[in-house]
Amino acid sequence: MSDPLLEVEDLRTQFPTERGVVEAVDGVSLRIEPGEIVGLVGESGSGKSVLAESIIGIVEEPGEIVGGDIRLRGESLRDKSEAELAALRGGELAMVFQDPMNSLNPTLPVGEQIAETVRLHQGVGESVRLPAEVKRKILGVAKNSEAWRRAITMLEAVEIPEPESRATDYPHQFSGGMRQRAMIAMALSCEPDLLITDEPTTALDVTIQAQILGELKGLKEAFDTSILMITHDLAVVAETCDRVNVMYAGEIVEKASAQQLFANPQHPYTQGLLASTPRLEDPNQEIDPISGTVPELIDIPYACHFAPRCPEAKRECYDIEPEFRPVGEGIERSTEPSNPATAAADGEGRRGDRSVSNTEDRPEEHVAACLRRGREADRL
């Protein structure tokens, strides 16, 4: 079987602070196949953003990756130099951040910020050395240059109206939704293999979110990229993702296809999360919260990080490190479209043919890291 597009293996990222070392990412493994939309869901403080930043290698001071490996098409990123990584960023790996308000540089026209990515990664023959860039900044961009033309086509691809005139506008002249689209355009402008979106629509209104999520799936097909969708919103995951990883306190606790996860959630935290999420479609749902709060990620003594909040927790949960165990109806081959859910959702939405995932031969796994789940659970 060919190498997966991206494979994260037992990744550890830590932040030394006066009060101890914050283990933001505590041994996480994750796999993304080409053409897939993989969800990473969890509450704030679960470490999902740090995981994304570790993959792209922009973890901020004083954080650092201390263990595990990240492989892009089988090639490890950890032993690449900063220059090599810089070439990857925006080219093979692109990222969209949560806060559209200041993810774009307020003193650069939006078109130029996209054209810059094109120049950096698409080799359009325009110099990216400092003097040329500063000259462009002062004298303005040549509007008939190849990079500018592609920037406009990118703005058009993300359905920003009148892209030609908007390209010369500045970010503060764009609404929140428009800015996020510009960010997506920038990320996709070099046909990356993997687009990581960190809570892309959290700061947006629900109608704008619907527009962008609808477009995102279409763009995925058009630019033949796969997406790592990071969010706290289970409904967004249900509608967009093919496979889902549920993250809690620095660890991934459950992995499944979206359809399996929502039809048959196994890990107590996933069940608790689903139980406490109000659902629009279910009026008589009795919301019942998970009691307690997310623990501080500083040297957590007990094995399963969810134990103190887990109603089924037993003594062993504190002692024995929970391994991933299959919990779905055994391993089944994913012949049907990987996520009937996402297929149905496209419906009348203007864009998007059925997204049949092209991973026929890959075994569908539904695993959870919990001693009281899976085949050996009955012994406890």
Binding site: P161, S165, G214, T277, P289, A344, G349
Partner: protein, 473 residues
């Protein structure tokens, strides 16, 4: 019941609306809304009622702005009628910038009201401030969105919770007040030991519990909760919603719940008011609104919410464009620039979707969003022809779906005509062409409030006297 105050409503309309106001008042009372505590007898006046209230913010700082500055006021709330009954939960829902938070604060006189009046138990409390408003403060309280920001960082929880009692002279001695505070902490699920802690020493959920405790100190009858759970995580959100629900039943509180989250609305509200750009465009009992939304904006809003259960996903009507600026709202129905169900003129031959596409072109031309010169440079970059005709065709390509649907001939002609005028710089001429070619009643008249089952809708399509059938979407 919304009516934008500036457009001159036809005389006939005013009488009928006032007639409706009394009518809908009784409707609301008798409607069989699901929750037990909402079927209060209709004779009883609503706990809190707002009649056509507005709140404008002027943008000018000082006389210089009035002279040459941009002096148009921001009309955050523009002619809103609202009622909250005893023990009832009314959800005010809308997207960011629709004025729902401002409405919540104006109801409690935390923002000075610009127009209309507010009644509490029938007594007029419009614009009261300071000592005049003081007695009413005991009955009307507020919970804020940002748990930490609403607590003074330099005071302990004990001091924060004792302050209301000191201000209103409740309790003889400090010990008695401290006792009451301990009781309150227990009520909201916090421990007595938390009394002398500072706000920063709590988690988000705990801070919000202190906020709720403070609102309960004066045992109010109504609490305005301004997005109380938006800043919290899902699991903590559920804890606070649970808390509010228990307290409401236990203390028979009325709750005005301001939020943008429709899933929360379904679990919390008895009645819902949907707001768009400063106006309430639809109110209805919660089950009625979710089962049978009438206003196109409510329909789009509901269809936009992502759902976990695949079976529950309806086909999605995706709204285009962004919310206009409240300082310069569109004329007539404020939603007409984005409404998928904008009413075509009587003689329109094509389909609704075609009219919507032509109407969008019209709005872009009127909004001067199309810049022919930028298109010309793009054409030259693509080394294509750059004369006016080429620019005109490029403009029309986007709006005339030349695939299957055939735009009515005169419509296509009008678009090409306007595009040509734009191409050689006659923007004004292009504007007149499109306004004549694509009129709509939605743009000329403000929609009247049509009473519906337990609420009302402000949309021409639902209004029996206006053209256009209600179920086009």
């Amino acid at each position: 019941m919304s009516r934008s105050t500036d457009s001159a409503p036809a005389p006939a309309e005013t009488e009928s609306t006032s007639a409706e106001t009394t009518a809908s008042e009784t409707d609301v009372g008798t409607s069989a809304s699901g929750e037990a505590n909402a079927d209060a007898t209709d004779a009883e006046a609503p706990l809190l009622a707002a009649r056509n209230i507005s709140k404008y913010y002027d943008q000018s700082e000082g006389f210089l702005d009035d002279l040459i500055g941009d002096a148009r006021p921001v009309r955050a709330v523009d002619g809103v009628d609202l009622e909250v009954r005893r023990g009832e939960t009314l959800a005010v829902v809308g997207e960011s910038g629709c004025g729902k938070s401002t409405l919540g604060r104006t109801l409690l006189n935390l923002e000075s009201v610009t127009g209309g009046h507010i009644e509490y138990r029938g007594e007029d409390i419009t614009g009261l401030s300071g000592s005049a408003m003081q007695p009413y403060r005991r009955d009307l309280q507020m919970v804020f969105q940002d748990p930490l920001a609403s607590l003074n960082p330099r005071q302990t929880v004990g001091e924060i919770l004792k302050a209301p009692m000191e201000v209103h002279g409740i309790g003889e001695s400090d010990e008695e007040r401290t006792e009451r505070v301990r009781e309150l902490l227990g009520l909201v699920g916090l421990k007595e030991g938390h009394l002398d802690r500072y706000p920063r020493q709590f988690s988000g959920g705990q801070q919000q519990r202190v906020g709720v405790a403070r609102a309960l100190t004066l045992s109010p009858e109504l609490i305005v909760a301004d997005e109380p759970v938006s800043a919290l995580d899902v699991s903590v959100q559920a804890q606070i919603l649970d808390l509010l629900d228990d307290l409401q039943t236990e203390l028979d509180l009325a709750l005005c719940f301001v939020t943008h989250d429709l899933s929360v609305v379904r679990h919390v509200a008895d009645r819902v008011a949907v707001m768009y750009l400063g106006e309430i465009i639809e109110t209805a009992p919660v089950e009625e609104l979710f089962a049978n939304p009438r206003h196109p904006y409510t329909k789009s809003l509901l269809s936009a919410v992502p759902r976990i259960d695949p079976a529950a996903r309806t086909d999605r009507t995706v709204l285009e464009g962004t919310v206009p600026s409240p300082a310069d709202p569109p004329s007539g129905c404020r939603f007409h620039t984005r409404c998928p169900a904008v009413i075509p003129p009587a003689e329109w031959a094509g389909t609704q979707a075609e009219f919507k596409s032509a109407f969008t072109f019209r709005n872009r031309v009127l909004g001067e969003e199309i810049d022919p010169e930028a298109i010309r440079t793009r054409l030259s970059a693509e080394s294509a022809a750059t004369d006016n005709d080429a620019v005109a065709t490029r403009i029309t390509e986007r709006f005339v779906p030349d695939t299957d649907a055939q735009l009515p001939a005169n419509a296509r002609k009008a678009i090409e005509n306007a595009a040509a005028r734009l191409a050689n710089g006659e923007t004004e001429a292009a504007k007149t062409t499109v306004t004549e070619a694509f009129p709509s009643p939605c743009e000329d008249e403000t929609p009247r409030d049509t009473p519906t089952e337990g609420g009302h809708v402000a949309c021409h399509r639902v209004d029996p006297e206006m053209p256009g059938d209600p179920d086009v979407l």
